[in-house]
Amino acid sequence: MARPVAIVGTGQTRHCKARPDVHQGELVNEAVTAALLDADLGFEDIDAIVLTNMELFEGRALPELWCGEFAGGLGKPVMKVATGGTSGTSGAIAGLIQAASGLFDTVLVVGWEKHSEGSTQTGMSLTDPAWDRHIASGAIGNFALSISQYVARHGVTPEQAALVAVKARRNAALNPHAHVKDAGITVEKVLASPMLAEPVRLLDMCPQSDGACALVIAGGDMVRRYRHPAWFRASATRHDQPYIGDHDQRLIKMRTLRSAAQEVYRKVGVQNPFKEIDVAELYEPVSYVELAWYEALGFCAQGQAGRLIESGATQIGGELPVNPSGGVLCANPVGATGVIRVAEAAKQLHGKAGAYQVEGVRQALVTGYGVYAWSDVLFLSAAQP
């Protein structure tokens, strides 16, 4: 990396089912204004802007045209990153690298989605028209197929998956920005929710949300103003072949996430991720998937994720809290979702996570997950690299 850079401010809307009171630009402006306020900077202090949004879901082309102005982009370099679920983490990586290159001292990243405006399922079915599109099962059926293999191989139980959903909704009850929260949720309630695609039930799945999230990234002299910058240590991105059947047991092997995590651990010098990482914000659109990520990220041995969630180690107060914010299961405005993961990890390092603040956070891990198996991994820390 050319020079050290850090996340110095974050801002989010309250994520919810529908925001009929604002258009996309107004939603973006809300998050950007909050992030500038958090970083104690003004519009004029931002050198460049990265936008992340999946415009097909809203049926609106060129979101950078309509929303760049509301992100404070006039007269500045503005670019858009759209890579499915990884859009937000990819956009954050792009912004961090722009600042680290020395090209800009401050970069603002803002991601958003307004699922209430469109038809997400249709958008996701519009894949390869020659082969893929006729099986318009969308995300749920395809997730369930991969999960069925994972369950068959490792004997993960519905109760263990439900513990992930319970942890998420209880954590979300502490987060003023979360969409789905339920302090009183139980394993029984998850198991009693409607079956969508076996073994995935309604409460195992993420919602579709309206929301936006922004980050302020600073390098050079700018970053010295801040007492607790969330330093960017490393990132890695992996693409993979497009069709769900291209790799057998994709969720079990998860070669993209595994390989990206190994690269990041090597760059930062992490030997034992479970012991050395203090908090993780993972992209878990389904409860079962969080368990698979524990294994791919080396938090536990293959096949031991069910036991790890049962141990309580990934709850707030445990040895490695995972998604203290409530995660994707509790807020999912897709273009913003990856940005939210990065923002929540940064908030933990800033000491600004409020009721879900994890004590003594020095190192934070972030993942993004998109399309069938793309992966982003980022590592943030309190220590300047």
Partner: protein, 199 residues
């Protein structure tokens, strides 16, 4: 840089800062004052409903054109084998992504295959062939056809969805009048559990 020399890390802004950062039409919300779908009346705001009737004409490419020509002529699926890693891909493609190797060898695939993953779906979707809602529950599977190293996701027809399991054998069902497109595959017929496999 002309940043105000405020307290490091921002922190709770006072009302004056909020007034400067927000505006009359779009005041910055305070926590507890969020203007979200739960606290606003949707009828107070205008919507603009758009229905698009658009069409696309997408080229499927040289390899898939040949794949569909063979499907229509022979009622059979073909994969493509990488000469370097020996993986046989379905759907075929001109280049093996892992090896970055151009592929040329067409491999005839079997009509039967093995379920490597399955799920019973209880949510409503439209049947792309009929435009009507598909009856629930329906079975979705990942099928590895004999001779292929990759699998395809498709519907599995079985008398009792609960009986279908990973490892079971299935057989491809084509529509009667082939058109040379992916819609020629209607579904996969379940051939019974592992014990009663037809081989």
């Amino acid at each position: 840089m002309s940043a105000p020399a405020g307290p490091p890390q921002g922190g709770a802004a006072n009302d004056m800062e909020r007034a400067q950062l927000g505006n009359r039409h779009h005041p910055l919300p305070r926590e507890g004052e969020w203007r979200d779908g739960g606290s606003v009346n949707p009828d107070d705001y205008l919507h603009s409903e758009i229905t698009l009737d658009m069409s696309w004409d997408i080229d499927v490419g040289g390899v898939m054109s040949e794949f569909f020509r063979r499907l229509k002529a022979e009622r059979r699926l073909y994969g493509m084998r990488c000469s370097r890693c020996a993986r046989t891909y379905l759907p075929p493609r001109p280049v093996c992504g892992d090896c970055w190797q151009e592929m040329e060898e067409w491999v005839a695939l079997g009509r039967q295959g093995t379920l490597v993953a399955k799920t019973v779906c209880h949510y409503k979707i439209l049947d792309s062939a009929t435009g009507e809602p598909r009856r629930t529950p329906f079975v979705l599977g990942l099928i590895q056809l004999d001779g292929a190293d990759t699998s395809l996701n498709h519907f599995v027809a079985a008398p009792d969805p609960g009986q279908v399991g990973i490892g079971d054998r299935v057989e491809i069902v084509f529509r009667d009048a082939l058109q040379g497109n992916v819609g020629d595959i209607v579904h996969f017929q379940w051939l019974g559990g592992k014990a009663g496999a037809h081989g």
